[in-house]
C-alpha cells in the first residue's frame, strides 16, 4: 500500500468541535501509537480514520464489537465474511466448516484462548473477550490495523504477548494505548492528542516516558 494522508479530520459533538482539524500521514510499515488522556479524542480520531480507510482496514474498537451470543469461532470468522458467499456464510453459521476451524484455531492458540473456540462470547472474561476481538482483526488480514485500547483488560505479560502478535501480523497500524511503556516499546511513532489536537508527533526511539507524561 501507499502512504495514507488524511487531511483536515474534524469531529463535532452537539455543535461543538471536539477534534481537529487534524492532518495525519500514515506511512507503510509504520506502527503509530496514539496516546493522550481519556476524552482527548483518540477514539474519535480512530473512528474517523476507519471511515476513510474502511476498505483496507481491520478495526478493534474499544467496545470490541463482538456478537455476545455467537461462539468465539464465529466472531473471529466474521473478520472474513466479505470473502465468502452468503450461502457459505449461512451454512458455516449452522455447521462450522472444518476448513475454517483449521485456520482459526492456530490464531486462538497464539492468544491462549483456543479452549474457548466453541464457547459463546458472553461466557468469557473481559480479557478473553478482548483477545477474541484481536483474533478477529488478525484473521481479517487487512492492510492496516486500527485498534482502540486492544490490551486494556490484559495483565502485564499477556499484554506484551498480544502487542507482539499484532506487531508481527500488521506492519502498518494505528493503536490507541494509554500504557506509555507498551506504546514506546511496540510503536515506531508516537502521536499525542490533547484537547482534540496533535500535541506531540515523534519517533518513539527519540522519546522517553517523561516526554509523554505531560499529556496526561
Amino acid at each position: 500500500m501507499d502512504a495514507l494522508r488524511l487531511n483536515n479530520l474534524t469531529a463535532a459533538y452537539g455543535g461543538q468541535q471536539v477534534l481537529g482539524p487534524i492532518t495525519l500521514e500514515i506511512r507503510e510499515g509504520e506502527r503509530i501509537g496514539l496516546v493522550g488522556r481519556s476524552g482527548a479524542g483518540k477514539s474519535t480520531l480512530l473512528s474517523l480514520l476507519y471511515d476513510r480507510v474502511r476498505d483496507q482496514a481491520a478495526l478493534v474498537p474499544q467496545e470490541q464489537g463482538l456478537v455476545q451470543s455467537l461462539s468465539v469461532f464465529h466472531n473471529v470468522y466474521m473478520g472474513r465474511l466479505s470473502t465468502h458467499s452468503r450461502w457459505y456464510n449461512l451454512t458455516n453459521l449452522v455447521w462450522p466448516r472444518q476448513r475454517e476451524l483449521r485456520e482459526i484455531r492456530p490464531i486462538l492458540e497464539k492468544l491462549s484462548i483456543s479452549d474457548k473456540l466453541r464457547e459463546p462470547v458472553e461466557a468469557l472474561s473481559g480479557g478473553q473477550k478482548q483477545r477474541t476481538a484481536v483474533a478477529r482483526a488478525l484473521y481479517q488480514n487487512a492492510n492496516i490495523l486500527l485498534a482502540d485500547e486492544p490490551v486494556s483488560a490484559l495483565d502485564g505479560p499477556l499484554a506484551h504477548v498480544v502487542m507482539g502478535i499484532m506487531a508481527e501480523a500488521y506492519s502498518t497500524s494505528v493503536i490507541a494505548i494509554h500504557d506509555i511503556d507498551l506504546a514506546l516499546r511496540y510503536c515506531h511513532r508516537i502521536v499525542g492528542i490533547q484537547d482534540g489536537q496533535i500535541a506531540l508527533d515523534a519517533a518513539s526511539d527519540r522519546l522517553s516516558p517523561a516526554d509523554i507524561l505531560p499529556l496526561y
Partner: protein, 491 residues
C-alpha cells in the same frame, strides 16, 4: 407541592377521567345482579367437566387457531420488520394493527364465511403489524458495533445474519412466546363471533345459565395458559406449528362469488352504487358521521379515559400482591394466582360475563378493562419491584410502599399505562359488539343490517382513532423521557 412531569401528566389524566365519568353511563340495570354473581361464583367452584360435549374440541380448536395465526403473523411481521425503514411499511403495519382481530374476523366472515381462513387471518393480520413494530425495535436495539467492524464488502445478508440476528434472537423468541399467550386469548374470543373456539361454547353455556359449564371452561382456559411454558417448549413449537393447520376443523367452504361481490359491491358506498353522485355521497357521509361516527367516537373516548384511570388504580393496588417487599410466600402465591386470572381472562370475555350479570351500561366494560389491564401492568410492576434492593433498615408496610417503592416504580408504571392506552382504546371500541354504544356497536349494527359500506367507514374511523392515540402516547412518553425495556411486554 413537588410535582414532577410524570405526576403532572397523571393528574391531568385523572382529571380527564373524572370528567369522563361524569358523562359515562354506569348504572347497574339488572334486577338482581348479586344473585347472578353468586350463581356464577358457585358455578366456578363447582365446575362440571363431564356434561359439556366437545370441550376437548373447543380447546383443540382454540390452540390450533392461536398457533396457526401467530406463526403466520410472526413470519409476515418479521419480513415487514426488515423493510421497516420505509415509511409506507411503517404506516401499513400501524394500520393493520389498529384494527382489532374481532373486526378483522367480522370482515372476513362476510366473504370467507365460517371457513378456518377467517379465524387464521383475523389473528395473523393484526399480529403481523404488532410483530413488525416490536421485531424492528428489537433488531434496532442490538449493539451496532459488530456490524461496524465487518470487513468492507460484506453482503447485507451475511452482515444481518452474523451481526444482528444472534443477539436479537433470545429477545425475539421471548416476545413471540408472550404473543402466543395473547394469541390463545384472541383465539378464544373469536368464538364469540361464531368461530369454533372456546368463546363459542362459553357463550352458549352462559346464555343457558349452565354456570358449572362456564366454570369448567374458564378453569380449563386458565390451566391452558398457566401451563403454557410447560407444554409449549421451544423444541416442540415447530411440531405444533406443523400440526396446527390440520386441527382447525373444516368449517364451511368459501363461496368465491361472495368474495368478489364483497369487494366490487358490498363495500362500495351506497350512493355511488346507486349512482347518486357526489352530492349523495356527501349526504350519506354527513349522516353517517352525525348519527353513528361521532356518538361512537365520543363514547369510545369517554369509556377509554375512565378505564385507563381505573386501570392505574388497579395496578397500584395489585402490584404489592406479588412484590416480595410485602408479605410472605403464601400471600404472594395467592397474589400470583389472582393476577394470573386477571390477565388471562380476555377483556371481552370478562365484559361479556359482567354484562350478563349487571345489565347493559359502561360499567361492565370499565371494570373488565381495568381488571385485565391492571392485572397485566400489576404483574410487570410487581416483577420490577422485586429487582429493587432496599437498605436493611428501610421502613415497613405503608411507609415502604409510599416512600421507597412508589417513587422508584412510578415512571415505569406511567410508561406501561401509556403503552396500554392504545390497547385499551382498541378493546373499548370492540366491546361495542356487546351492546355498549362505542364504535364497535355501530360497526356491528351496520353489519347486522347488511350495510358493509357503513361498517367499513366506521372501522377505518376506529383505526384512525387508535393511530391518533398511539401517536399521542408516543409523544407523551418522549416528553417524559420514558423508556421501557425492549421486551415490550406492555404491548
Amino acid at each position: 407541592m413537588m410535582a414532577s412531569a410524570s405526576v403532572r401528566i397523571s393528574l391531568l389524566f385523572v382529571a380527564i377521567g373524572l370528567l369522563s365519568l361524569f358523562f359515562a353511563d354506569i348504572a347497574i340495570t339488572s334486577i338482581n345482579p348479586w344473585k347472578d354473581l353468586t350463581a356464577l361464583f358457585i358455578g366456578i367452584v363447582t365446575p362440571d367437566f363431564l356434561s359439556l360435549q366437545g370441550m376437548g374440541t373447543a380447546l383443540l380448536r382454540t390452540i390450533a387457531f392461536a398457533f396457526t395465526g401467530v406463526a403466520l403473523g410472526s413470519v409476515s411481521g418479521f419480513l415487514l420488520a426488515l423493510a421497516f425503514r420505509w415509511r409506507v411499511v411503517r404506516m401499513f403495519s400501524a394500520f393493520i394493527r389498529a384494527i382489532h382481530e374481532l373486526f378483522w374476523a367480522l370482515i372476513f366472515l362476510q366473504f370467507f364465511g365460517f371457513h378456518p381462513l377467517t379465524g387464521v387471518l383475523a389473528i395473523a393480520i393484526p399480529y403481523a403489524g404488532i410483530f413488525a413494530k416490536v421485531y424492528s425495535d428489537i433488531l434496532d436495539e442490538v449493539d451496532p458495533t459488530p456490524a461496524r467492524v465487518l470487513p468492507a464488502g460484506t453482503s447485507t445478508f451475511s452482515a444481518f445474519l452474523y451481526a444482528r440476528v444472534p443477539d436479537a434472537l433470545p429477545h425475539l423468541a421471548t416476545y413471540t412466546a408472550y404473543r402466543l399467550e395473547c394469541g390463545l386469548r384472541s383465539s378464544a374470543v373469536l368464538g364469540f363471533v361464531g368461530l369454533p373456539t372456546l368463546g363459542f361454547y362459553l357463550e352458549s353455556s352462559f346464555s343457558q345459565g349452565f354456570y358449572s359449564e362456564v366454570g369448567a371452561l374458564l378453569i380449563l382456559f386458565y390451566v391452558l395458559i398457566a401451563t403454557l411454558r410447560f407444554w409449549a417448549r421451544p423444541r416442540l413449537v415447530p411440531f405444533y406449528i406443523i400440526a396446527a393447520p390440520f386441527f382447525l376443523g373444516d368449517g364451511l367452504p368459501i363461496v368465491w362469488g361472495n368474495v368478489v361481490r364483497f369487494f366490487t359491491e358490498d363495500i362500495v358506498p351506497s350512493p355511488i352504487r346507486n349512482g347518486d353522485g357526489i352530492a349523495g355521497l356527501a349526504t350519506w357521509l354527513s349522516e353517517l358521521t352525525l348519527h353513528e361516527a361521532l356518538p361512537g367516537i365520543w363514547n369510545t373516548l369517554v369509556l377509554t379515559q375512565v378505564a385507563l384511570v381505573l386501570t392505574g388504580i388497579c395496578t397500584l393496588i395489585a402490584f404489592p400482591l406479588i412484590s416480595r417487599h410485602f408479605g410472605g410466600p403464601k400471600r404472594r402465591g395467592i397474589g400470583h394466582i389472582l393476577l394470573v386470572i386477571a390477565r388471562s381472562t380476555p377483556e371481552y370475555m370478562l365484559a361479556y360475563i359482567l354484562l350478563q350479570l349487571w345489565g347493559p351500561s359502561m360499567l361492565p366494560a370499565i371494570v373488565a378493562l381495568a381488571l385485565h389491564n391492571g392485572g397485566i401492568i400489576g404483574h410487570l410492576i410487581g416483577k420490577r419491584s422485586n429487582e429493587i434492593r432496599l437498605r436493611p433498615d428501610a421502613p415497613q408496610g405503608c411507609d415502604r410502599y409510599h416512600y421507597e417503592l412508589l417513587p422508584r416504580l412510578y415512571r415505569p408504571f406511567i410508561a406501561f399505562l401509556l403503552y396500554r392506552w392504545e390497547i385499551i382504546m382498541r378493546e373499548t371500541a370492540i366491546l361495542g359488539i356487546l351492546g355498549i354504544y362505542t364504535l364497535g356497536f355501530y360497526v356491528d349494527s351496520a353489519i347486522q343490517n347488511i350495510q358493509f359500506d357503513r361498517a367499513m367507514v366506521l372501522i377505518l374511523i376506529t383505526a384512525s382513532l387508535n393511530i391518533l392515540v398511539d401517536t399521542i402516547s408516543r409523544r407523551v412518553r418522549q416528553h417524559l423521557k420514558l423508556r421501557t425495556s425492549v421486551t415490550c411486554e406492555g404491548h
